[in-house]
Structures are given as C-alpha cells and as structure tokens.
C-alpha cells in the first residue's frame, strides 16, 4: 500500500506533501474547499496527473492534510493497493424525500461478494443522512460497516458538490466498496461534547423541525444560549448541538446539529429527526474535551500498520475550536502514529457504525475516522 498526497493552494498551486515514490494509484480521494472546483480546472489537472485512477471527492468546510487543517485548498490523496480491489456506485440526490431510495441504489450497485466495507460521500444539504445510510444498509445488511460523510460548503450551508470521475456536482452521492482478504478497515467516531443545563422535553416537533422544548419556543432558548453569537444564526447554532434520547433510554442518545432556523415559526431545523416526546439537552463544547474526543475516536479506529486514515470531522467543531482546530488532528496523529497519513475534511454530517451496535447512522459533531491497512 503506497500513498502520495498533493495539496493545491491558490498562491502555490499543486505541490507534493507526501510521497512513497512512484505510484500507480488504485484510487484518488480529494477534498476541495468550496469555490475551488466550480470551473473544473483543478479536476482536469488532477485527471491529467492520475489518468488511469478512479477519482472521487467532495467540497468541504475545511481540509485536513496530515496534521494541517487548511482552508481554500484541495487535498488529494492517491492510494495504490497491493491486493485490495475497489468498486464504485453513484446516485443523484435531488430531494430530501428520495434519500432512502438513493441509499438503496448505492448499495445495490456494489457487488456483494467479498465486500469488506463501504465509504460514502454525499451532497450535504439535499440529503437526509439517516435515511441515506438506512437505505444502503437495507441492501447490504448489518455486517458491512459504512463510513463517510456529507460534503460541506464552508459555514454557509449552500451548495455542496460530490463527484466520481467527474468534476464534483451538486445533488450527487457516491459509494466506494473495499474488496479482498488483505484489507483491514478500522472505524471510530466520538464527539466529546458536554451536556449542559436541564433536560427538556421535546414538546412539539415534526420530522427534523423542532418547535418547542418544555412548551417554550426552541429558537428563543437557542438565542439565550448563544448570547452574543445569536446574530450569526444558523451557523453559530453549531456551537450548541442538541443531544436527544427516548425517555428512560439515555444509552440510545444521538447528537443533532442545527442546519437552519425558521424565525417566523420560532423553530430550529436539524440535520436529522427530532422526535416529539424525546428528552433533549443542549450541549456545549469544552476545548480540551473535544480534542480528547478526537483522540478517543482514533483509539477506537486504530488497526495495526494503518497507512491511511480518512478523517471526517464536523464543521461545528472547527467553528468552535478556531485556530486550535489543528489540535484535534494532532491528537489523532498522536494515537495513529507517524506511519499513518491523515486525509480528510470538515463535513455537514459523519457516517459511522453506532457504538456497540452493527447499525450505522448519521452522526453530528463528531470526529469520525476510517483507517485502512493492507496485510
């Protein structure tokens, strides 16, 4: 397994950041800042560099190149497997209602024999991530781990792009299957956010729209929590995710991220469902705990001799940690070791198996890591 990592930045153009020497890549994975791939020029350069390799990638809320967190760049990682084979599938995602169908199509178009794991990239604003994952898993069954993430658009929540062998476009989802007996995949996902304040009842909600907590408008509560940051809604709501769980079942908790607000209705719109009758608690990020959380995700994901780790971390973590965001990537590097190259992006949602469960789901506000090694 050999790796070459190239970084494009506006002032320097493409440069090689890491290389195992001459490479015949089985895969090129790239993560591009919003705006850098609108005209197709950078993709054409990438294709020219790697004419024979499948190329998949998406837009981001920030790019990860080993221990550096970049903005406005493209991080492309070429991987040459010795034994492992890959297969790809793709689907349009044009309305929130079709996410399950899109997931089923992605799953159905991957050969089942020898499938060891699936990595998914999807449009980040036109998808119900939970449904997409459920759709894939309904076809592939619970024994195939699914990881990946939702493409980003900085902190704007506008247009996100995904591409397989073409310049990334809005409204696409792609899946990549890993095959062969020699591949070792590891997964880890962890948040590290702290719940604060009292538990509240989700007293009025519909789908992913939350109207009231304890019979009080949810938006007013968020404004109170955000204080001086309330003017930057909805982006600043990423600083305060919501932890929800059914009454009496805290072990089944999920973290939900705010992706929009409805001022007229006093409502908050979340990346996933917020069921009425659930218990909800607002979360705040403590820097040290978030950074330690990234380390815990790495510990869970660690496999022996991992050469590449794909990091999908939440945009909310980056907004909160600011210049210290590289600390969480360094924490991951510290666990996985120098031999493991890191590549990744800041996302609108992370996909990984649930802890202690074969089921996969969409996560929010986590550091989610997929490690790859070949025996």
């Amino acid at each position: 397994m050999r790796i070459e990592q190239r970084i494009w930045q506006a002032d320097t153009g493409w440069r090689v950041a890491a290389s195992d020497g001459a490479i015949a890549p089985s895969l090129v994975l790239f993560f591009a800042a919003p705006g850098t791939v609108d005209d197709g020029q950078r993709f054409a350069e990438l294709r020219a560099q790697y004419p024979a390799a499948p190329i998949i990638g998406c837009t981001t809320g920030g790019e990860i190149a080993d221990i550096d967190v970049l903005d406005g760049s493209i991080v492309a990682t070429a991987v040459e497997f010795a034994h492992t084979r890959l297969a790809f599938s793709e689907s349009p995602i044009d309305a929130k209602g079709c996410s399950i169908a899109a997931g089923k199509r992605l799953g159905a178009d991957l050969p089942r024999a020898g499938l060891r794991g699936v990595f998914v990239l999807s449009d980040g604003t036109r998808v119900n991530g939970s449904d997409l994952v459920a759709g894939i898993q309904s076809v592939l069954g619970p024994n195939v781990a699914i990881t990946g993430g939702l493409a980003g658009d900085g902190s704007r929540f506008g247009t996100t792009r995904v591409g397989l062998d073409v310049n990334p476009e809005p409204g696409r989802a792609v899946a990549m299957g890993f095959y062969g007996d020699e591949i070792r995949l590891g997964f880890g996902s962890f948040g590290g956010w702290d719940t604060v304040g009292p538990e509240r009842l989700v007293s009025r909600a519909q789908g992913n729209v939350l109207y009231e907590l304890d019979d009080q408008p949810a938006l007013a509560l968020y404004r109170k929590y955000l204080g001086p940051e309330a003017d930057n809604l909805p982006a600043s709501a990423l600083l305060c995710p919501l932890r929800i769980h059914p009454v009496g079942k805290p072990e089944a908790a999920r973290v939900r991220t705010v992706i929009g607000i409805d001022d007229a209705a006093g409502a908050m719109i979340f990346a996933g469902a917020v069921p009425e009758g659930h218990i909800a608690q607002i979360m705040l990020g403590h820097f040290d705990n978030l950074i330690a959380g990234a380390g815990r995700a790495a510990s869970r994901a660690a496999v022996p001799d991992a050469r590449l780790a794909i990091l999908v971390s939440c945009i909310g973590r980056k907004l909160l940690l600011g210049q210290q965001i590289a600390d969480e990537v360094e924490a991951v590097k510290g666990v996985l070791g120098a031999a493991c190259r890191l590549a990744g992006f800041y996302s609108y949602g992370e996909i990984a198996p649930l802890e202690n469960s074969p089921l996969c789901d969409l996560h929010n506000q986590t550091m989610t890591i997929t490690t790859i090694a070949e025996a």
Partner: protein
C-alpha cells in the same frame, strides 16, 4: 513556546518563499488568534452566565420537588438499582415508626423488611406468611398493583411501588387506617340497616296477614248483620252500629293497604303491571264510587274527559288508587257547597294531565312539601277533624312517579287546590283506545 504560536511560526515560514519568517503574516495570525480568544472569552463568559441561570432553574425545580415530597401526606421513598434507600420523607418514618431509625440513605431494603416482619398483623384475617420477607423483597423488585399490609398496632398501610428509569424503585406508602375504620363502620352500618329492613319487611308481611284476617271477619260479619241476613237485629240502632262497624273496617283495610303499598315502594319491590287503559273510563268509574260521599258532603262533582283521549300505559289498580285518593282528599277538605272537577287532556309535550280541582281550604305553599311526606298531614288538627293518616298524597306521588310521571300541586289557602297527575309522553298511546 505555546503550541499555537509554534504552529503560527511554522505557517509564517512555510508561506514565505525563502523560508524566513514572514513577520507580517505572523502578526496577522497572532492578531487573528487574539480576536478569536476574545470571542471565545465572550462565549465562555456567556456560557457561565447561562449555566448560572440554568442551575437556578434546576435548583428551583429540585427544591419544588423536595418540598412536594416533604409536604405530601403519604410516605415516599426512592430505592436505587442495588435496592438501597436513596431518599425518603419524614412522613414515611411516621408511618413506620419502628423503622424510623433504620430509614437512612444507603440502608438495604431487605434489612428494612426483615426489621418490619415482627410488626406485621393479619391482613383480611390471614396471618402473614412465614416467608413474608422473601416474598416482600421479590414483590418490591417486580412491582405490580398496589397492596396493603396490616400492622399489629391495628394500622393498615397501602403500598404502591413502580420501577424508575434507572432500574430503581419508587414507593408511595399511605396510612389507610382511617379509611379502613370508616369502611368497617360503613359495612357494619350497612349490615345493620339491611337486617332492620329485612325485619321490617317480615313484620309487615306478618302484620298484613294478622290484620287482614280479623278485619275480613269484622267486615264480613258486620255486613251480614247490617243486612240482617240471618235474622232481625231488633233495635234499629244495632243496624246502624253494624254499618258503622262495616265502614270503619273497610277504612282500616284501605289504610293498611296504603301502608303496605308505601313500604313496598320504599323497598323498591313494587312492580307495575302495566296495560293500555282508557283514562276517561277510569275517571268515570272512580267518580261514580265517590259521588255518593260528595253528595252527602253537599259538593258538586264534575268530570270532563274529552272523547278520543289517547290510551295510557299504566297499572289500573295504581292509577285508580291515585284518583281515589285525590278525589277523597278533595271531598274531605272542601266545605259544603263547594265544587270538585276532574279534567283530563293531552299536554304540549305529548303527555297527559289529569287534574283534580276543588274549592276547598287549600294548602299554604310552605306546607306542600310536608303534605307529600308520608304521615305528614299538614296539620294534626286536620287529621283530627278530617280523619286519615296522611298517606294519600305521598302514596299517590310515588305511584305516579313509578309511571315516570310527576304530581303537581297548585293551591291557595281558602281558595282551593288543583292536583295534577302528569304522565309522560312515552306512557301515552298514539290514538284513541278501541272501545273495549
């Protein structure tokens, strides 16, 4: 050196073409970090403020709960998943004074139960089972319906337990001794009342037999004597006395019948044998019976029943008795020269009204309710003057009510009384009864 500054220095060198430190770039990065730290300090300060507020809310909620638990009239306890006491209120210690010392946070439920076992009395006459402690602990871990325990000091405690979401147990313990006592008293009172009622029914049934038998002899033989069936009595006064004996006997029989009917109604044992009746015919029949008495009292008696009056579903004997009583009262309480009128007609709501109107002494409004009470003849002097035991009106009212109707009295002292029997629409047929 702070790792952030190290990172900034690294970036300032990397971005400069010759590898030297780009001071301007470094300052921009450091400045941005300061700005960010300011922002974060604001966010943190605000978060601190919010937490202060939220803790206030949580504490207010907690003290409300604590207050409610302290003030509630029942004993209250929470046991954790290891079945150790988390908290209980003072009321629980009052209810279980033998356990008061033991009931401290951390005490095992099983220890409390073992300590309680000697205090147990019988429940419903059954002594507590030998393995009560084990049973009680098992029931505590798998709570179901509420149950009661009895203590040897005579008190009863009702226990309700349920599982908490943390796999602990919440329990509510209510001293129901007062309720139990009241229940017992109520049961005793009910038994006594039922016994008394039974005795009364038995007594009346016997009385009915014991009174009617000699009365029938008196009535029968006085009639034989008055008619001089076997031979002349001699003096004419004997004949008159024999008639008086006969009349008095019949009156007594009526009073006894009324009494029996009244007690049957009150015992809920009076069942109507209803049939379709021609009310006009019934009125004429009763009027015919009392016409002689009215004439003797110097009263005029008129009946007004329009032809084509719809049939009524009722008991012939009961309605006859009602009419007989009402007419009897009218005759009794109307001075000589007065007028009595009986009318029958359909009402607006589809029912039927029979009205007995007299020009008698009348009843004062405040006395009408009294007149409807059994044995409540308005004025004792009246009964002395006019006779009767005051059963006529109340019995009539009950009989009408048994038909789903009601009795209405409109009266003015010195001007007269109208008593209306109002029968409901469901007792009134569609068309005139075929002439029988």
């Amino acid at each position: 050196m702070h790792r952030l500054l190290e990172r900034q220095l690294k970036q300032a060198r990397r971005d400069s073409p010759d590898g030297s430190t780009d001071l301007e770039m470094l300052l921009r990065l450091v400045d941005a970090a300061y700005v960010e730290f300011d922002r974060q300090r604001r966010v943190l300060a605000h978060a601190h403020e919010i937490m202060h507020e939220e803790y206030g809310l949580i504490n207010a909620g907690l003290s409300r709960l604590r207050d409610a638990i302290t003030q509630m009239g029942a004993g209250f306890a929470i046991w954790d998943s290891a079945d150790r006491l988390v908290l209980c209120n003072a009321r629980l210690r009052e209810i279980l004074p033998q356990n008061a010392e033991l009931l401290r946070p951390g005490v095992a439920f099983a220890d409390c139960v073992a300590h309680m076992a000697p205090q147990l009395g019988s429940v419903g006459g059954n002594a507590p089972p030998r393995d009560w402690v084990a049973e009680r602990v098992a029931r505590h871990r798998n709570p179901g319906d509420s149950f009661e325990i009895a203590l040897i000091d005579g008190r009863h405690v009702q226990i309700w337990e349920a599982r908490t979401s943390e796999d602990g147990i919440v329990g509510v313990y209510v001293d129901i001794s007062d309720v139990k006592r009241a229940e017992d008293e109520l049961r005793r009172a009910k038994d006594a009342a039922e016994n008394a009622n039974h005795s009364k029914s038995l007594f009346l049934a016997n009385m009915s037999h014991e009174l009617r038998t000699p009365l029938n002899a008196i009535i029968g033989f006085s009639e034989v004597m008055a008619a001089e069936m076997i031979g002349p009595l001699g003096d004419a006064r004997y004949r008159e006395y024999a008639r008086d004996i006969h009349d008095a006997g019949k009156h007594l029989l009526e009073v006894i019948s009324d009494l029996l009917d009244m007690s049957k109604i009150e015992a809920g044992k009076f069942e109507l044998a209803s049939e379709w009746l021609d009310l006009g015919e019934l009125i004429d029949g009763v009027a015919h019976l009392v016409r002689g008495r009215a004439r003797e009292a110097g009263l005029s008696l008129h009946t007004v029943a329009p032809p084509g009056l719809p049939p009524v579903l009722g008991e012939r004997r009961a309605l006859r008795q009602v009419l007989f009583n009402l007419l009897g009262n009218a005759i009794k309480f109307t001075p000589t020269g007065g007028r009595i009128e009986v009318t029958a007609k359909t009402t607006a709501d589809g029912g039927l009204a029979v009205r007995v109107t007299d020009t008698g002494i009348g009843i004062a409004p405040q006395n009408i309710a009294h007149a409807l009470t059994p044995f409540g003849q308005v004025d004792c002097s009246l009964s002395r003057e006019h006779g009767g035991v005051g059963l006529g009106l109340p019995l009539s009212q009950r009989l009408v009510e048994l038909h789903g109707g009601r009795l209405e009295i409109v009266s003015a002292v010195g001007a007269g009384t109208t008593v209306s029997v109002l029968l409901p629409a469901e007792r009134v047929g569609q068309s005139a009864l075929r002439s029988a």
